[in-house]
């Protein structure tokens, strides 16, 4: 780690002020990405602003037809929340398959989506469930939030406050984990929502994306068979030593069918 100034503000305003004042400030949530990055000396921020001291950023609550998850809510909390498990069991299940117990008890939803790792799980939920991200400045539609590899619509100094997930009729998440990191090689969230079927894929591309052809096929018939012949093109998909673009494209189909089967059966 390089040296940096550490701040632990108690209000959002103080956090924003510290960020604005810093030459190169970065907020710290669960630290599950930021701390390893710092330890490997891959980042060198002048100031680290820990959000852990700010009251009210964590926790899950029901707001009308949506489940709102505070930015500092740990993955383990989402996985075990009765509210989430009742309303959107797919979201609880997704949170439960992130990393390991240590990671789930430290990592946060705000950190996960702000970081926008292409292999992270939450982006599939944000896009697949048609969520809305609320920041200190505005709200951002889930569909618009992820803009590239580790890129989001967040502006300089913009802090995620919460994510609001409309409760779907039914939904399921199917994940194919990377054997080494256990992040998603491919993860697919399939949801039947008030505004139609959504199919969102994480892991396969630069950022989470929807598969329109699957959505319309499932709109007609919400069965695995309906999408058996919907091929996903490998063009532009991620490639690494664990999975070629072709394999990823293939897995999108398999995981989508498994998610549909789980949602339809559940």
């Amino acid at each position: 780690m390089y040296a940096f100034n550490y701040h632990r503000p108690e209000t959002l305003e103080a956090a924003s002020a510290a960020l604005a004042a810093a030459a190169d400030g970065q907020v710290l949530a669960g630290g599950q990405t930021l701390i390893p990055t710092l330890k490997q000396r891959l980042a060198n921020p002048s100031d680290v602003i820990d959000l852990g001291g700010i009251a009210g950023l964590g926790g899950v609550r029901r707001e009308g037809d949506a489940i709102v998850v505070g930015a500092m809510t740990r993955h383990a909390e989402v996985a075990s929340s009765a509210e989430v498990r009742n309303a959107i069991p797919a979201l609880a299940a997704l949170a439960d398959c992130i990393g390991d117990p240590q990671v789930r008890n430290a990592g946060t939803i705000g950190g996960s989506i702000a970081n926008a790792d292409p292999a992270a799980d939450y982006p599939a939920a944000v896009v697949g469930l048609g969520a809305t991200v609320r920041t200190g400045r505005r709200t951002i539609a889930g569909d618009d939030f992820f803009t590239g590899l580790f890129e989001t619509a967040l502006e300089e100094g913009e802090i995620v406050l919460s994510v609001s997930f409309p409760v779907p009729r039914r939904a399921a998440y199917a994940k194919f984990p990377n054997p080494a990191s256990r992040y998603a090689v491919v993860g697919v969230m399939v949801a039947e929502t008030a505004s139609g079927v959504r199919v969102a894929v994480t892991g396969a591309g630069g950022h989470a994306f929807r598969v329109g052809a699957m959505e319309s096929a499932l709109g007609a018939s919400f069965t695995p068979e309906a999408i058996r012949d919907v091929a996903v093109s490998p063009d532009g998909l991620n490639e690494d030593i664990h999975a070629s673009a072709e394999y990823r494209a293939h897995l999108v189909g398999v995981m989508a069918r498994r998610a549909v089967a789980a949602a339809a059966g559940g």
């Binding site: 780690m1 390089y2 490997q40 194919f176 054997p179 690494d240 030593i241 897995l251």
Partner: protein
């Protein structure tokens, strides 16, 4: 059987400190005035370079920045390879210099160029980043085939064509003749994937120098502290042996990787002498990936000749073995004498020929890793035998049984220079088949098929040469050291015992097993025995722990010492009990006089030995302490059969191991629980190799699997429940009848897994690690081939 004696499943005494965080690892020690080291490592696989250390030397907290030029100026030597393998041409292998700090050329990513010593670890690392390296990149080569090709980049002037050696064993003409007679020939190309050892505790070292005495002390993560001392004294010439004290305290796993004498500990010790202060270095995990010797990395073409009855007439093996960029401490013997010599397997194969080209590449050096050569040999033999079974339509178990060396054929001289001492291969096979319900497999396969899964079953009837090793044999084969072991027994006046062993425990449980052995043999309560190891100033010279040798060789040395103790005790008892020595018997801790009720416990004898008020000193020496050195008469030959059953999800390519049976013949067993744990760990290692672990370089020599994000270590949920059982043919040539168990699982498992996977898939066209993608591809190419 005594409660804590030989054969008892005594819980490991060392586990309390390991599980409660009170172990004493190298990094736990901090010496007064200690400094910290960081290394400047090459980011290029092959380059010449110049260094500018001025900014680093001026950085805050920096004590010294030392380079290869400084090392050379001090007249120190380079690292060595301790085993000279002689090639087909009668020439010794090419062992180019392995500098402690590269002076002008780096040959792999991670090669150390400078050591920065500072007041804190952070200051050292900060300053290391300020060392300016001006690289002139050279063409690099990571693949063995490319390294051997004409016009390939030359890594060492001393090794033309990047060839370290071209070695052979067996009878080429007889093997050709056997193939000429063959009814059927099975052929297979196999890759034995490169592994990164990843011991839980990273390597660490603290060098210390006392200018007043001129003595050096090195604390480090070593499996063999005396060997470290010997090499650092005799070859690198840091300090003479009697001025160098090496301590290997608790060590958190080694798997071979902590046998070797590396750049870092050498540089740290030397630097401590230069600056007159202790210097500490602890690898971070990223360094471990590039700086710990890797394992395996073979490519082989294998052919098996069978007669019409399925009997093995001949085996022909041609292997390329990757040495990496330099020859590590024992690298040369691994793909030769620990590999080619095992090609007999458990079979009566009539003629065998194995040739191995060892190749330099711009990758991290490769050396022994759990099993070292023997997993590679077992993989060759057991994969080709299985393939032959499928080609000939003979059941794989039956084909093996038909070719087994019969249990009455021992001692059995092999075609490849060994003499197997004992074994009963059919017994282990039959037990394994029964425990695995081999007969019921077809029904399970059908049931799995109904669930859309491909089910396969695979056998591995492995053998290994352990208890390394008879010094005469290894000496005649080029080893620079003897491979005996030492043991010392010291009775204290109050009757408890200190056991000194030259073996080193870094996970094996010696503190328990050796205490059981001594307690049982001498009749001393288990709690009264303390095992001391890992310190060159405490124990007699020892060769250390690797090659499943600790009990077979180190335990036998203790037996020698204990026999001397008993002989001395008999003299003391005879004197004290006023009997003649010949009439004194020893059993269960008591010396008794035949035909009388006179008895003296060994604790009383010990007390007497230290209070010799009335001893006839010209006949009887005081004290009760003896040392034994044991040089084995032969290797030991653990063997057995492992059975693996898998289910493959054809949609994703995911392989799940659904059953595991291990039946091993380790000879006599001292602690069955520790043996079972060693089998579990070894099998986990082998499953890791077969399904998960694949060290990958890109063509230019950059390591792609440089962290746990990409290098897959086996985790608990990757592993099946295992049924572990043993058979026993005692080793006939060591006093304990033991064979060794530490590597067996890693040797047996990869072939068992891959035989099961290929059985499930119906194709052998897949290499380790059989990752989901690899399986998916194999299935895809197969369905294309069918279409």
């Amino acid at each position: 059987m005594a409660e804590n004696g030989i054969g008892a499943a005594v819980p490991r005494t060392e586990d309390h400190r390991f599980l409660t965080g009170t172990g004493d690892y190298t990094d736990d020690t901090n010496l007064p005035h200690q400094t910290y080291a960081a290394f400047v490592r090459s980011t290029h696989p092959h380059a010449t370079f110049t260094l500018d250390t001025s900014a680093a030397a001026a950085a805050p907290g920096v004590v010294a920045v030392l380079t290869g030029a400084d090392f050379a100026a001090d007249g120190k030597g380079s690292l060595i390879c301790g085993w000279a393998v002689t090639g087909k041409d009668g020439e010794p292998h090419k062992a180019p210099p392995h500098p402690v700090l590269a002076a002008d050329t780096v040959r792999h990513v991670g090669d150390a160029m400078a050591i920065v010593v500072a007041e804190s670890a952070r200051a050292a690392r900060d300053a290391a980043e300020q060392v300016e390296v001006d690289y002139s990149p050279l063409p690099a080569v990571a693949s063995m085939r490319e390294a051997l090709a004409d016009g390939a980049p030359q890594i060492h002037a001393e090794a033309p064509g990047n060839l370290c050696y071209d070695w052979e064993i067996g009878d080429r003409a007889a093997t050709d003749e056997a193939f000429a007679r063959a009814h059927h020939v099975t052929r297979l190309d196999l890759v034995n994937n490169r592994l990164i050892p990843n011991a839980m505790e990273p390597r660490a070292a603290i060098g210390d120098y006392n200018p007043a005495s001129g003595n050096y002390t090195l604390r480090l993560t070593s499996q063999n502290p005396h060997v470290h001392r010997l090499v650092l004294a005799a070859f690198v010439q840091i300090a003479p042996e009697h001025k160098l004290h090496v301590i290997a305290p608790d060590v958190g796993g080694g798997f071979g990787s902590k046998i070797f004498i590396y750049q870092e500990e050498t540089a740290v010790l030397w630097a401590a002498g230069r600056i007159g202060r202790p210097v500490k270095w602890t690898a971070d995990r990223s360094e471990s990936f590039v700086a710990d010797a890797h394992g395996r990395d073979h490519e082989s073409h294998v052919e098996l000749a069978l007669d019409a009855d399925g009997r093995f007439l001949g085996l022909r093996v041609s292997t390329l073995a990757n040495m990496g960029a330099y020859l590590s401490t024992f690298a040369s013997c691994v793909p030769s004498y620990l590999y080619g010599t095992l090609m007999q397997g458990q079979y009566t194969t009539g003629a065998i020929y194995c040739e191995v080209k060892a190749v330099f590449t711009n990758t991290t050096p490769v050396d022994a890793l759990r099993g070292a050569g023997r997993p590679e040999a077992t993989y060759v033999v057991e994969r080709i035998v299985d393939r032959a079974a499928h080609e000939t339509g003979i059941d794989p178990a039956e084909l093996r049984r038909r070719n087994f060396i019969p249990s009455d054929a021992f001692p059995y001289p092999t075609q490849v220079a060994l003499e197997y001492d004992s074994g009963n291969y059919a017994l282990a096979l039959d037990r394994a088949l029964e425990l695995a319900d081999y007969a019921g497999f077809d029904a399970r396969r059908a049931e799995a098929g109904a669930r859309g899964k491909l089910r396969g079953i695979g056998l591995s009837a492995y053998i290994e040469a352990c208890g390394i090793a008879p010094s005469q044999v290894v000496g005649s084969l080029g080893a620079g050291v003897g491979l005996w072991e030492s043991g010392g027994i010291r009775f204290n006046p109050t009757g408890n015992v200190l056991v000194y062993t030259g073996s080193h425990s870094h996970g094996q449980g010696h503190e328990t097993t050796f205490a059981q052995l001594v307690s049982d043999y001498l009749g001393v309560p288990f709690e009264n025995v303390e095992v001391v190891h890992g310190d060159t100033e405490k124990t007699p010279f020892g060769m250390g722990t690797y090659g499943s040798r600790s009990l077979a060789v180190g335990g036998s040395a203790l037996v020698k010492a204990m026999d001397k103790v008993i002989a001395k005790g008999r003299k003391i008892a005879a004197f004290s009990l006023e009997a003649s020595e010949e009439d004194v018997e020893f059993s269960g801790g008591d010396f008794t006089v035949a035909g009388t009720d006179k008895r003296m416990n060994i604790a009383e004898v010990a007390f007497s030995a230290y209070v010799p008020h009335n001893y006839p000193l010209d006949e009887l020496e005081p004290g009760l302490e003896e040392t034994g050195f044991y040089d084995p008469a032969n290797f030991t030959f653990p063997a057995g059969t492992h059975v693996c059953e898998v289910e493959v999800d054809p949609e994703t390519g995911v392989t799940e191991i659904v059953n595991w049976v291990a039946v091993d013949d380790f000879g006599n067993v001292i602690n069955p629980m520790i043996v079972e744990g060693q089998v579990h760990g070894g099998v986990a290692h082998g499953i890791g190799q077969a399904l998960l672990e694949g060290c990958t370089y890109d063509a230019g020599g950059q390591l792609l699997t440089g962290s746990f994000m990409d290098y897959t270590m086996p985790r608990a949920d990757d592993l099946p429940d295992m049924t572990v059982d043993t058979t026993c043919t005692p080793c006939p040539h060591n006093p304990l009848g033991v064979k060794g168990c530490g590597e067996a699982g890693a040797i047996a498992a990869p072939a068992a897994v891959m035989n099961a996977v290929t059985h499930a898939l119906g194709t052998s066209a897949i290499d380790m690690p059989a990752t989901p993608q690899a399986v998916w591809r194999a299935l895809g190419s197969q369905s294309q081939a069918r279409a």
